[in-house]
């Protein structure tokens, strides 16, 4: 096991860490496939209201690559197709039947999986709607099956701080996981498995498979951060990554011939220790978090997720919900209070003296100002970028300069925006620029 040295990041603890027990949620009445968490997708819908679908029936595909289909995680009848502004597809909602049937895909035995050729496995994954679990850095778009990647990073932790614990979803699944790794080794010569340091104990059965140990600070487990710290040449920039849960799904698909629908998810909320949840893909948000108030903002990751509407459904890539409080009370003389309970990475509040988990709310805690060049963003960036200079280069329309300074090494962890005292939307600016560059290049 190689140690990855990441020193910078978010070291403060936050309230609301999920408990390590698992409860299974009852079957919901509806289920949906969301298009909002799928990168760069231009969907073409294959069903209409009232159509009957099985588990594994395609609901829509990506016009840029018609092979990449998004399959239905439940059997029932298409209840509605939800569009947003400018007819952007939000989600396809399916009303579930009591008894559900599967679409049968080609399956392989464990032994056959070992000897099967790469193309066959790729075909099964594409047909089975799970190829898109493999994504390509730095833009995080769907991996191209025609290309051999320089390396594949298996991220046991998803992006959020409180994402499902790998020890839970890998419990008793060691052999599947090892099969998954052998499958990835067919696709790429090098496979990296990175685990958080304090998860190693619970991952003991897998220890021989873990190649890299990462420190326990957000966002060290982000594939962009891992890649930045292990890469030696520029060829490795286009590494692929897959999360541990998705890898298990891929193996299950190949072995059973059925589209796998179960995942482990977490819901985190301040002052609440919720258990891990065994859910189905695309469950309604309300069934995961029933007691939502109007002062709650739901996100699929407080640092790098998206805002989720309370009456929508979980996405294909999303296994975390963070519920953040909306502040309504303006604090009297807020800028000069000692702040014993404020969450901060600076040393300007008394709370920095105690090692207490901090509160999380979704307020910016200040107004936007011009950059004062304090370099707080550089002090926290896990990939040692200089966000203040990159932001200024982008403002000056100097994309070349921004790229030189490592714009594409940005792992979208959001910490630069988090720490900025001038409340500049750095992460948003970078994400926009990276997406625009990617679209331009395609």
């Amino acid at each position: 096991m190689e140690k990855v040295n990441i020193f910078k990041g978010f070291k403060t603890r936050l309230k609301g860490e999920p408990d390590l027990s698992i409860i299974k949620l009852p079957k919901p009445s509806t289920i949906a496939v969301s298009a909002l968490d799928i990168p760069f997708i231009r969907p073409r819908i294959l069903v209409k209201d009232g159509d009957k679908v099985k588990i594994g029936s395609p609901l829509f595909y990506d016009k840029q690559n018609p092979d990449i289909q998004y399959l239905c995680p439940g059997a029932g009848v298409v209840q509605k197709i939800v569009f947003g502004a400018r007819r952007r597809l939000h989600e396809v909602v399916v009303q579930l039947f009591e008894k559900e049937y599967h679409v049968e895909f080609e399956s392989l035995t464990k032994k056959a999986l070992g000897t099967a050729d790469t193309q066959k496995i790729i075909d099964i994954l594409i047909k089975g709607g799970l190829w898109q679990c493999l994504r390509r850095l730095p833009a995080r778009d769907t991996a191209d099956p025609k290309i051999q990647p320089p390396l594949i990073i298996v991220c046991l932790n998803e992006n959020d701080m409180f994402a499902p614990h790998p020890g839970l979803y890998l419990e008793n699944e060691t052999s599947f996981f090892e099969l998954g790794l052998s499958l990835l080794r067919k696709i790429s010569k090098r496979v990296v498995v990175a685990a958080r340091k304090n998860h190693l104990e619970k991952l003991a059965p897998l220890n021989t498979n873990i190649t890299h140990v990462i420190p326990d600070l957000y966002p060290a487990w982000n594939p962009g951060a891992i890649l930045f710290h292990i890469k030696k040449t520029a060829d490795e920039n286009n590494a692929w990554y897959v999360t541990g849960q998705h890898l298990l799904l891929m193996v299950k698909l190949i072995l059973t011939g059925h589209y796998p629908i179960e995942r482990i998810a977490t819901v985190s909320r301040e002052n609440d220790k919720k258990p891990h949840l065994l859910i189905r893909q695309g469950m309604p948000v309300k069934s995961l978090a029933p007691s939502l108030g109007k002062n709650d903002l739901i996100t699929s990751g407080m640092f790098s997720g998206r805002i989720i509407a309370p009456d929508s459904h979980m996405g294909f890539f999303e296994n975390t919900l963070n519920i953040l409080k909306i502040k309504n009370e303006e604090e009297f003389l807020g800028f000069i209070r000692p702040g014993t309970a404020k969450t901060t990475v600076s040393n300007t509040f008394l709370s920095c003296l105690f090692d207490k988990p901090g509160q999380a709310d979704c307020d910016t805690h200040g107004e936007e100002r011009a950059c004062i060049n304090c370099a707080c963003c550089h002090r926290i960036c896990p990939n040692d970028l200089m966000p203040n200079f990159i932001m200024k280069a982008l403002h000056g329309d100097d994309l070349e300069d921004a790229l030189d300074m490592g714009l594409l090494d940005c792992c979208n962890c959001g910490l630069c925006s988090y720490t900025c005292p001038c409340k500049i939307e750095l992460a948003h600016i970078f994400q926009d620029a990276m997406n625009a560059y990617h679209k331009d290049k395609e």
Binding site: K231, K232, T233, A234, N237, L297, T299, M302, F303, R306, I307, E330, E331, F332, L333, G334, F335, I336, K342, T343, T344, S346, N347, T348, F349, A360, C362, D363, T364, H365, G366, E367, R369, A370, C371, I372, N373, C374, A375, H378, M386, F389, L403, D404, M405, L408, D409, N412, C413, G414, L415, S417, Y418, T419, C420, P421, C422, K423, A427, Q431
Partner: protein
């Protein structure tokens, strides 16, 4: 505090839209946000944000300036007493000092704020908190005897030319407070140098109003003996019981402020450490190779450190993040060169007895270049990703 909130809510309509006082919206907004920290929900990633904002950031600099300001007021009163031939007690010194210093600070704030509001109103911006610091730093660099109209002129120049023409706080090249001081220094040299450091000067014979840096030894006397004779022993310089600009005299109070800024990480330690290292290094070089025993060449590093405004400048002026470099390596160089130029101007330039202001302004101009070089170097070390 609901009654106060109600007053703000009720009067808001006059200051916005087509209200009668819509032009003063920036002032209204600034006042309101001081009392009630504004709420704004995050719209983009990350959805939670740090509690530190620019208001608190700049307020912390003001807090760090409290010791020097209070001591400055006291020392001005005490010196004024000595100048008139009486030894005032603590309270009297303080009251007497307030009589000189408070008007200077007030004029600086009122006139500066006027320009801030004017520019913020025209640009439809919010008033940036950076001015709070400029408005206090500038008076602290002045002698207590300065005419108030010069203060008003200076702060106007500092705010307009030093900052607003570039677009406001965050976009300026030079430190606005030092720009203001440089303007006054070169426009009204009589008010800024010579025997002007003690109010009521002239009533008592043998009471010099010069600052330690203006001291030069007579005959074969060494500089250290001359300083000692004039009452500028190291101990006095440390505690600050010497004539000088309002805020610069007390090393002790400056170090208190410095400690506060470093612990809260508002000021970057690299600039301060680099500056002190540069000053000590240069002072030692001059001490070893210089020849004139009666001049500041032979004063040695400790006197260079404690006398004049170097510590004040390196702590509160050079660490202004806007005009200092934004990369760590450049900050070391920036600080070091400020120390170097300070001593060099002090000992090698007959026109100016003090070099801190010029050294910092000079390095402010070079800060973007230092940043540029460091960024280019770092880019060359990266594994390219395009």
């Amino acid at each position: 505090m609901k009654w106060l909130k109600r007053i703000f809510d009720k009067s808001e309509k006059h200051f916005s839209g087509s209200g009668k006082l819509a032009k003063a919206h920036a002032l209204f907004d600034a006042t309101k946000t001081v009392f009630f920290h504004p709420l704004r929900r995050t719209a983009f990633i990350p959805f939670l944000r740090d509690c530190l904002d620019l208001k608190r950031y700049m307020t912390f600099v003001l807090i760090s300036l409290v010791p020097v300001t209070i001591f400055g007021i006291y020392n001005t009163g005490y010196r004024a007493g000595l100048g008139s031939g009486v030894e005032l007690d603590l309270l009297d010194s303080f009251l007497h000092g307030s009589y000189y210093v408070i008007p200077i600070i007030l004029v600086s704030y009122v006139v500066g704020l006027f320009w801030e509001i004017l520019f913020a109103g025209i640009r439809k911006h919010k008033i940036s908190e950076g001015f709070l610091v400029t408005g206090l730093l500038f008076p602290l660099t002045l002698p207590a005897t300065i005419p108030l109209w010069q203060v008003a002129l200076g702060i106007s120049f500092g705010v307009i030319i030093g900052k607003e023409v570039f677009g406001g706080t965050g976009r300026n090249i030079l430190n606005p407070a030092l720009t203001a001081r440089a303007f006054v220094y070169f426009s009204y040299p009589v008010s800024m140098s010579g025997e002007i450091w003690i109010p009521n000067l002239g009533a008592v014979d043998g009471m010099s109003g010069a600052t330690p840096l203006a001291v030069a030894a007579q005959g074969n006397q060494s500089i250290l003996a001359a300083l000692s004779d004039m009452g500028f022993a190291l101990k006095n310089l440390f505690w600050g019981f010497v004539p000088g600009s309002i805020g610069e005299t007390s090393v002790f109070c400056i170090v208190l402020g410095m400690f506060f800024l470093l612990v809260t990480r508002i000021a970057n330690f690299r600039i301060i450490a680099g500056g002190i290292a540069g000053l000590i290094f240069t002072a030692i070089v001059f001490y070893l190779f210089g020849e004139d025993p009666g001049s500041w060449i032979k004063a040695g590093p400790l006197y260079h450190l404690f006398a004049g405004s170097f510590l004040f400048g390196i702590t509160f002026m050079a660490t202004d993040p806007v005009s200092a470099p934004g990369t760590n390596e450049a900050r070391w160089i920036f600080g070091f060169l400020i120390g170097f130029f300070t001593v060099t101007i002090r000992v090698a330039n007959p026109a100016f007895v003090e070099g801190t202001m010029l050294a910092i302004l000079f390095m402010n101009v070079f800060a973007p270049l230092l940043d540029h070089m460091v960024v280019k170097y770092k880019v060359s070390k990266r594994i390219p990703n395009v």
